[in-house]
């Protein structure tokens, strides 16, 4: 019920956003929202804390940038290539990390992501510290000029909706049900005949792919693939976004990404105070506001009903 209302709000807000906000900025938020949703699928629903998701986000951006710039891929194909790369990378990471649990899992993903960061810094095609610049936005289906920021915006919005839809469906699927069971009691799920590792791996790959989708899209929007996106702080940021919005809620990551993104943007004039303010918000969230924004709303709503 709440979800339906929220979905309508999100749809309307998304469709009208370019009217009252700077489109590129909203597109950036959408990318982070999708990224956070993908991350949430893993942490909120499979109970796996990945501290290396920036590798998929940033890695996909490089691939998309490279294939569109150097091989002349169309933007759509380029984005798919980026997401596809994230999928493969996700499978590899997953294969190595899934066998570990809890904090070890987080650490392995972090270590693997640092290695990707290293490659991004050292490989010739990424441009090192300079980043991969001048990625063309190109034409969608050979027709629509994406240099037009409205066209670009709605293209991004559609990508976001598709990604969001996939995640929503995954959570509410038979697969999602098994994931939850695994999170609750892993060895019991195993003894019931579920190949726990396969389920976790699939969840990991879906999450990585969609994180990659977000990063690939970002590369086209900004015409840039940069190290920042692959840095561990980006992995940290996406965790924060998810938590602020509400871990394990469908819309939480979206709201979290918008809140954190908008805050850092609005506060950027305050220099280092941004950090202080964001830090304070997180501390407050963790201490008294743990369900996150959406989680709290849902609690209030259900309390009213009940």
């Amino acid at each position: 019920m709440t979800n339906r209302i929220l979905f309508i709000i999100m749809l309307v807000a998304g469709l009208t956003a370019p009217l009252f906000a700077y489109p590129v900025f909203v597109m950036d938020l959408l990318c982070f929202a999708l990224f956070a949703c993908a991350f949430n699928l893993l942490l909120g629903y499979a109970g796996l804390l990945s501290f290396g998701h920036a590798a998929f986000f940033g890695g996909a951006a490089y691939i998309t940038g490279y294939v569109t710039k150097e091989w002349g891929f169309t933007p759509l194909l380029g984005i798919l290539a980026g997401a596809g790369f994230a999928m493969v990378l996700g499978a590899a990471f997953g294969f190595l990390a899934i066998r570990r649990q809890g904090i070890y899992f987080a650490m392995v993903t972090l270590a693997l992501a640092q290695i990707i960061y290293f490659l991004a810094l050292q490989m010739p095609f990424t441009g090192g510290e300079n980043g991969l610049q001048g990625i063309p936005r190109g034409h969608l289906f050979g027709l629509i000029d994406l240099n037009n920021s409205l066209a670009m915006y709605y293209f991004v919005f559609v990508i976001f909706l598709i990604g969001f839809g996939i995640i929503y469906r995954t959570i509410n699927s038979p697969f999602g049900e098994v994931l939850q069971a695994i999170r609750e009691n892993e060895s019991r799920a195993l003894s019931l005949g579920y190949d726990v590792d396969h389920f976790k791996l699939l969840a990991f790959v879906i999450s990585a792919t969609l994180a990659g989708l977000a990063g690939a899209t970002k590369a086209i929007i900004f015409q840039f693939a940069a190290l920042t996106n692959a840095h561990w702080q980006t992995s940290g940021e996406v965790i924060l976004m998810t938590l602020v919005g509400g871990l394990g809620t469908v819309f939480g990551p979206v709201v979290g990404a918008i809140t954190v993104g908008a805050l850092s943007h609005e506060l950027s004039a305050f220099g280092s105070w941004v950090q202080v303010i964001l830090g304070t918000i997180f501390v407050v969230c963790v201490m008294v506001f743990r369900r996150g924004i959406i989680g709290e709303i849902q609690r209030l709503a259900s309390r009213k009903q009940g």
Partner: protein
């Protein structure tokens, strides 16, 4: 490449290694015994360095107190102040999170890190302020035959090693370690046995924090004091703790030293990988020894 060069670089590696060891030790105490992932450990290290800096050169300017806290005094004052901060953080905040997923502790300390870094970045140059208070007695160089090595760096190496091994001894040769682990695993029952778990936890946290502060003071004369000096370091130190094996005090110390060496030598043979080699090793270690080099399989 001559043996001298390798030796010189190894010594520099050891220099880095003692800082890894000290930080990962503090982290391992908090992380391994209390199960708290203290992301703010890097910020506490930074804080230690700033306390030394402020104590030495800014007290008068800031607070109008004509008092100078020299380097030696800082070695005591800074860990105590950082330890008190640790007590506050633990008592006022972390304490309420123990029943929840560990991720909340991580997030809280992440937030605290942002606050601390941000605060200092407002007043100090991000790229660093030199610490002027290096004691005269340690300012020379020692001729080691194959190189000139700054006396202070030698002092830092020896001092850190002493602190690390003393801590290890204290934890392993008292019941403290097992009591803490029990207190974390099942605090209710441990208290029912008559152990004051909250106090133990607070003091341990404060101690770990104090170690970070101490490392910060030691680092100040070598590196410039900067609000971000702990930011990237913390990630590396996490890796060191994992490689050493969570919960293993000796593991944290030894792997800190060893990885400092490895990193130092990588800087010679393939400099670009120096900042990443530890993560490669971490992946390898976790693949073949999931519990870390010194960790016990759970």
């Amino acid at each position: 490449m001559s043996i001298q060069v390798i030796l010189a670089q190894a010594l520099l590696g050891l220099n880095v290694g003692v800082f890894y060891a000290m930080l990962s030790l503090g982290l391992a105490v908090i992380f391994g015994l209390l199960n708290i992932i203290n992301f703010a450990h890097g910020a506490m290290y930074m804080l230690g360095a700033f306390i030394a800096l402020i104590g030495y050169s800014l007290l008068e300017q800031w607070f109008g107190i004509s008092l100078q806290i020299g380097f030696w005094a800082s070695l005591l004052v800074a860990p105590v102040i950082v330890g008190i901060l640790g007590v506050l953080i633990e008592r006022l905040m972390l304490k309420r999170l123990y029943e929840l997923d560990h991720i909340y502790g991580l997030l809280l300390t992440f937030g605290i890190t942002l606050i601390l870094q941000g605060l200092f970045a407002n007043y100090f140059n991000v790229s660093g302020t030199p610490y002027p208070g290096q004691p005269e007695a340690l300012s020379g160089v020692v001729n080691l035959g194959f190189m000139y090595f700054p006396t202070y760096r030698l002092f830092a190496i020896v001092f850190s090693l002493v602190v690390c091994f003393a801590t290890w001894w204290a934890i392993e040769h008292t019941k403290l370690g097992s009591r803490l682990r029990a207190g974390v695993e099942n605090p209710d029952l441990t208290q029912a046995f008559g152990l004051n778990v909250p106090l133990m936890v607070t003091l341990t946290f404060a101690f770990g924090a104090g170690l970070a502060g101490l490392a910060g003071v030691l680092a100040a004369p070598i590196y410039s004091v900067s609000p971000l000096m702990g930011a990237d370091l913390i990630i590396v130190v996490f890796a060191v703790v994992v490689i050493g094996g969570m919960g293993s005090i000796m593991g944290a110390i030894l792997s800190g030293l060893a990885l400092g060496l490895v990193e130092g030598l990588t800087k010679v043979f393939y400099p670009p990988a120096a900042s990443t080699v530890i993560f490669f090793l971490m992946v390898l270690v976790l693949l073949f020894r999931p519990a870390g080099l010194f960790g016990k399989e759970k």
